[in-house]
């Protein structure tokens, strides 16, 4: 064991003079830093601010007595995400065991303080798992996934709207924004991608112009622009800030989705189209049932990466006055009572963002290998 470690360290730490120098300077420095951070985490940091303000971080200024609406929305989202994951990854028995462990841990850790929330969290996880298992074990359900997704979106809006869409906030707003943008921008992006390689040059030019302009201006500008433009264009609707933000995000990210889909379309061999044409299929049928499925297969991993991009740019809605996760954290820090807890709050924000982001990245990477397996 020790000999093995010595051999490993000779190869990986002290192989060359420069490596020795690097290892000898970086490792102690890093250990010192790690020690400082750990010492701060355990002794100096006062973490009670996080549980105290957890509600604001999670749902913003959404009224506390309406919190059940947020829970319902979260459960719908969990079912949807679980179902989406179940399409790709087979649900195994060991996954079920792992989930049971997580459930037990959640209840054991938080159950003593706040039993209802612990139970609600646990049931959310359970719904996620059952969505995953159902889709993965009953392949017939997969056909219903896309309509179910849209119905779920409508249901979420129906549940969340009554107190006023202006009250949405916190992590829930970030997630909803990401979900709506990534689902709605998909069909728009596919249409744009097909438009960009249309037979008609005018169509091509219009789609290309839209995509190129959207890709070279900042998102924050598009969101702000849509936000001020909507009341000017359609004053009779009086759209809420959240909806205007979602429209801005969708318009912006459709251009990116179009580019990913286009790269997928280019990966489909021309012979496929020609063969389908020689069978007498119509252009619409060719694109819908021959080209698009193969193109999406190539485009899915970058599209999942795009979901991460959307989630990571969701805090930009601060420009139109919405309180997303980051802004909620800043709001807590603005309270003079908590002014000295900067590092605690930022550590929590960073950790949450990193966890969600890593999860999405992980799924994208797994998808890439999973989809590459079928290629000949």
């Amino acid at each position: 064991m020790i000999a093995r470690f010595l051999k490993w360290s000779r190869h990986n730490l002290f192989g060359k003079p420069f490596d020795i120098l690097l290892s000898l300077t970086v490792i102690p420095g890093f250990l010192w830093l790690a020690y400082q951070v750990a010492a701060w985490t355990v002794t100096t940091a006062r973490w009670e601010i996080i549980p105290e303000s957890l509600r604001i971080l999670m749902i913003g200024i959404f009224p506390a007595e309406q919190a059940w609406r947020a829970w319902v929305a979260i459960m719908i989202i969990a079912a949807l995400l679980g179902a989406a994951l179940g399409c790709v990854f087979a649900f195994r028995k060991r996954h079920a065991a792992g989930l049971l462990l997580v459930l037990a841990a959640v209840i054991a850790l938080t159950g003593s303080k706040d039993l209802t929330n612990a139970l609600l969290t646990a049931s959310t996880i359970a719904i996620f798992a059952s969505g995953c298992a159902a889709i993965s074990l009953i392949p017939l359900l997969r056909r219903a996934l896309l309509p179910a997704g849209f119905i779920a979106l409508i249901a979420i809006f129906a549940v969340m709207s009554p107190p006023g869409a202006g009250l949405w906030g916190g992590l829930l707003l970030s997630i909803l924004l990401t979900l709506v943008t990534s689902i709605v921008s998909l069909p728009v992006g596919i249409l744009l991608a097909f438009g960009r390689r249309s037979r008609f040059s005018s169509m091509r030019w219009i789609c290309m112009g839209y995509i190129e302009v959207m890709r070279s201006v900042p998102l924050i500008m598009v969101v702000y622009w849509i936000w001020i433009l909507m009341p000017v264009l359609a004053p009779q609707f009086g759209l809420a800030d959240v909806v205007r933000g979602m429209i801005g995000f969708t318009l912006f990210y459709s251009a990116y989705v179009a580019e990913y889909v286009r790269s997928g379309l280019q990966a489909v061999p021309r012979e496929q189209t020609e063969a389908a044409r020689s069978l007498g299929m119509s252009e619409f049928d060719i694109n819908r049932s021959i080209v698009l499925p193969q193109a999406l297969r190539v485009a899915v991993p970058p599209l999942v990466g795009n979901v991460l991009d959307i989630f990571n740019t969701a805090p930009l809605v601060f420009i139109i006055g919405l309180t997303d996760f980051l802004r909620a954290g800043q709001m807590i820090l603005a309270n003079p009572q908590y002014g000295d807890r900067t590092y605690e709050v930022y550590a929590f924000l960073f950790l949450t963002y990193f966890l969600v982001g890593s999860l999405i990245t992980f799924v994208a990477r797994r998808l890439e290998t999973h989809l590459a397996r079928g290629n000949r």
Partner: protein
């Protein structure tokens, strides 16, 4: 009528049918083209009319004449172009009596300043991080991996506000500023030593400075390797000579009670924005470099090893030259997204283009005209970057390897 005639007649009928169908197709194609264009134009006109009507309801007229009004607001930093009555455009500090057009110019200058600095710094840091993934040292490898993962999986905005509110604003105030080899680090900003021209009008000094410029131009543009080497030598030697003879002097900043004197400074907002964008883009660039290295055929490594090249020589002479030829277009995309990301400066109050636009829109109400200007500016910036990168790409691939 014999068989031949019948066939010929059939052919003629076929030809007629074919040409008729072709004509029909052509007409249908043209009609669709026309319909698409007409629909697009109608949409744009309807959109413009609706906007005009909506603005009229708010009592605002769509016009660009507000650009020449006095701005009436100050910027925390920023220089603009001033027409000084003669032939030249002067480049001076923005003040509130300047026009709104000049405020936009100041915003573009500030955005470009951050973008150019960030492009240079993030390329250096990113390549370093990407190459250290190849290191034989486990510490360097895993450190760069985790840094890149962490930065790529968290939003840029939280990184930016963290750098600003949790790092830079926690620096010591300038009265007790930390000094680090002549660099003053404080809450009020970072101050660096600057080069100051002391040569006055002496011909020798001017000749040396001109020679420096010529050498830089030669290094970038000349095709002969020998000339480029000479130029490189001149670029190293001449500035040293100028420093030694006192033609150019280093001016160190000195911290006083409220601000630092001498040297050149950077406001805390700009420092935070620059730090956040550099670190963020550097990790994306590192990922691009890593991807390009992974995409190289394994045979390249094995061939180099079988020739007896050391690992250092392999990386330096075989791997990196090929990597840098393929990554340049991806770098260009990253530079464009970096430039767009400078718009986040509004979150910390750095007066870049979008921030200044926000102020102007609030003051004058001409938000839609302003958006067009801002959009056009970002489009031009993006196109300039992609043109430059394409030019560099052409040069590099023409010259073969690096």
């Amino acid at each position: 009528m014999n068989v031949h005639h019948a066939k010929a007649a059939e052919h003629a009928v076929d030809d007629d049918l074919l040409s008729a169908r072709r004509r029909r197709n052509r007409i249908r194609y043209g009609a669709t083209q026309f319909a698409v264009i007409a629909a697009a134009i109608t949409l744009v006109v309807l959109f413009a009319l609706a906007v005009k009507e909506g603005l009229a309801r708010h009592g605002i007229r769509f016009s660009f004449s507000f650009l020449w009004d006095a701005a009436g607001f100050d910027l925390s930093e920023g220089k603009t172009f001033v027409f000084d009555g003669t032939f030249w455009l002067a480049f001076t500090e923005f003040t509130s009596e300047r026009s709104i057009a000049q405020a936009f110019a100041a915003g573009i200058v500030n955005t470009t300043k951050v973008a150019v600095l960030a492009i240079v710094l993030s390329t250096m840091l990113g390549v370093l991080l990407g190459v250290s993934r190849l290191s034989t040292n486990w510490v360097a490898r895993s450190l760069s991996f985790w840094c890149v993962e962490f930065v790529r999986n968290t939003p840029l905005l939280i990184q930016l506000v963290f750098w600003y509110f949790a790092v830079i604003l926690h620096f010591p105030p300038i009265a007790a500023a930390a000094e680090f080899y002549g660099v003053v680090i404080s809450q009020q900003g970072l101050f660096f030593p600057a080069l100051v021209w002391k040569g006055e009008g002496s011909p020798v000094a001017i000749a040396m400075a001109t020679a420096c410029w010529v050498a830089i131009l030669g290094l970038v543009f000349d095709k002969h390797r020998l000339v480029r080497r000479v130029c490189m030598g001149a670029i190293v030697v001449l500035p040293c000579l100028m420093l030694l003879t006192g033609i150019v002097e280093l001016d160190f900043p000195v911290a006083s009670k409220f601000r630092a004197k001498g040297g050149t400074g950077m406001s805390p907002e700009m420092a935070a924005l620059l730090l956040a964008i550099v670190v963020n883009s550097a990790s994306y660039i590192a990922e691009i470099v890593r991807g390009a290295i992974d995409a190289l055929p394994k045979g390249q490594w094995e061939a180099a090893a079988s020739l007896g090249l050391s690992r250092r020589d392999t990386v330096h002479d075989i791997i990196l030259p090929q990597v840098f030829r393929v990554v340049l277009p991806s770098f260009g995309n990253q530079y464009i997204s970096l430039t767009k990301n400078t718009a986040l400066g509004i979150a910390v109050g750095y007066p870049e283009l979008f921030n200044i636009y926000g102020t102007i829109a609030n003051q004058t109400g001409h938000s839609l005209e302003g958006i067009l200007i801002v959009m056009a500016s970002y489009l031009i910036l993006s196109w300039a970057i992609s043109a430059t990168v394409a030019w560099a790409d052409r040069r590099l691939s023409k010259r073969g390897a690096m």
